[in-house]
Symmetry: C2
Subunit: 367 residues, 2 copies
């Protein structure tokens, strides 16, 4: 290579001097290959050295073309919020990747779509290959549960943005739905039944409040609180990964190809049951929720009591035990409920659709 | 709503107490609507209140089906690295969104794909609606230049992860390519010509080194250095957005539907020309680069001199004036060069393909 003025100057800077380690990045890439590969079926095209993930829509004898006359791509992005800080504090990095996948793919299936592929972005203080491997292993595990391929990702080392040991995660999911089967609020009718699928705890929303309660009430993440859980520490309970509803929800709908038995769905995230279910309603109907139809899990009772958080605020912030809702035709409600239960879901009839004004209301009691 | 123990307890916490402002988030969402809408053509399906972007593949009389017999989705993710810190330091937030789009879509077209849709993730200390609007306006501008739809995004307020005023950005792009037209390193042949498209400066790689040079050499971002630029300050020069090559590159290939005149491409990012061009080669060919074929832009000469950075290191870290490469058949090289020039690109013949070992080498001089 040629020489230019300054190239031999004493005290010259190199990229390594500036704090970015290319070797650590390469090692991280090597380590995560095995995890990525677990998620990739025959529709993923090998692209060694490339910066893009390639995914064949129409693999396997024009199956795609037979199933999709008018395919609509559905794309979602989300992070896991400050749940990452809990993971960092506890030094447990294996499961936030599952949360990351869950947050995007659960949003995606709400549109009636099936997830196809996923990518992750990790912004991090310093590329520690073992840490990055654990994060991506979690992402890959989430993709396996969701049934989508992890086709790419980016790990950005930014020591001036993140604090030592810190990182942030962003996830991105793409799915496909046939246009005529895409969810449409117009489909929801009075008489429809609201099925609630149980959550696996706090999932990935409300952690700024959770962490505030832990800090101000001087709770110990490493301690077992018997009223919360007999065997797991508070930290372990709080880090439980977000439940991924893709396989049961997609399969339950596939069972009814012609009849549209599901009229709306909701992934319960920030805003709680009411704040999310309302998005699936049109202005002519209300969803009336029976809050006694399921038992509020111990973790929410614990947080409310220890934090002195009002019930209304709890319901605005947390899923309160219901992570995903399906609005279904009444004649099929029992069959769908049984079908979902066979696939491992704990399902409750938590409400019904009535004539209304596009609101989520509470069932009146004691009359 | 029902009451539970603790709901009226004095000193109870709410989500607002914990530092997350839902109102600011809502205002940010309102402000960015106009920018998002500018990017959305008729293929985007309105999804008010939804968390997912919907994009019709087959809009307009089965055009998609006619053009794609075996469609392959191409997906990329990237951030803009520590260029965000430069933007934050200068208080100029309008253009890093363009960089964000550029980093992903330029990777995507390397596969032969045309970009369809984009999503952004903003992790931020505090949701300042005006700041978020400026960031998303830049993303929308980038999407307009790239010709893709901004179908969604996420702004995550995380005061415990980011420092006051700080943010990080991640971008996700999805495109489509017909399987038989997807780039394949096997296509590259000895005799092919390497065309280099000029960059618009440093683009979005190497900013950790750039900032180190600025800091250790006590350079002033607000100062004009005549040897660098007669009118723009150092900071303005360094913040110049990454050039987006989508429209010219996609159109140049469309002009040759049957003949495959482009045998490989490379987006020049971290690793420089050699580190990126090498990914488009198979083990039987070398790319021989003539480093005298174009003039190194002033910004790279300035950084090398002020920082005392060796030429070899400069070439490993920076694009050195060439932001995108096309490897083309020799008989079409002049025609493609002219076609790209008509679309506003400054194009140089910067090398050629020879029998070799899958390496990028330098043309020998003076013999």
């Amino acid at each position: 290579m040629g020489e230019t003025p300054g190239s031999t100057r004493a005290g010259g800077l190199t990229y390594a001097d500036s704090g970015v380690s290319i070797e650590a990045g390469d090692e991280a890439v090597r380590r995560i290959q095995q995890h990525i590969r677990r998620t990739q079926g025959p529709r993923v095209i090998d692209n060694p050295g490339g910066f893009a993930g390639l995914f064949r829509l129409d693999f396997n004898e024009q199956l795609f073309r037979r199933n999709y006359r008018d395919p609509v791509l559905v794309a979602c992005t989300d992070g896991v919020g400050t749940k990452v800080l809990l993971a960092i504090e506890m030094g447990v990095h294996d499961t936030v990747g599952v949360d990351l996948v869950a947050m995007s793919v659960n949003d995606l299936i709400v549109q009636g779509a099936e997830p196809l592929l996923f990518l992750d972005y990790i912004g991090i203080y310093r590329v520690d290959p073992a840490l990055v491997e654990r994060l991506v292993a979690g992402v890959a595990r989430g993709c396996e549960i969701a049934g989508c391929a992890l086709v790419g990702g980016e790990t950005a080392e930014m020591p001036d943005v993140y604090k030592p040991g810190d990182y942030d995660l962003a996830g991105f999911a793409v799915g496909v739905v046939e246009l005529s089967r895409a969810m449409d609020t117009a489909r929801v009718e009075p008489g429809d039944v609201v099925l609630g699928l149980e959550s696996d705890g706090v999932h990935s929303n409300g952690y700024t409040l959770v962490r505030k309660i832990v800090a101000t009430r001087k709770l110990k993440l490493g301690q077992i609180y018997p009223e919360l859980d007999a065997e797991r520490t508070l930290g372990e309970v709080l880090l439980t990964p977000t439940r991924i509803y893709c396989q049961p929800v997609v399969r339950a709908q596939r069972a009814y190809k012609v009849k549209k038995v599901v009229s709306g769905m909701a992934h319960i995230t920030g805003g709680g049951i009411a704040g999310n279910l309302v998005r699936s309603l049109h202005p002519g109907v209300d969803a009336v929720i029976d809050w006694d139809a399921w038992e509020t899990p111990a973790v929410f009772r614990f947080l409310a009591e220890r934090g002195g958080v009002e019930e209304a605020e709890m319901r605005r912030v947390f899923n309160m035990g219901i992570g995903y809702c399906l609005i279904v035709r009444p004649t099929f409600a029992e069959a769908i409920k049984r079908r979902l239960a066979r696939m491992g879901e704990r399902v409750h009839v938590i409400g019904k659709i009535a004539k209304g004004k596009g609101r989520v209301t509470d069932k009146k009691r004691g009359r």
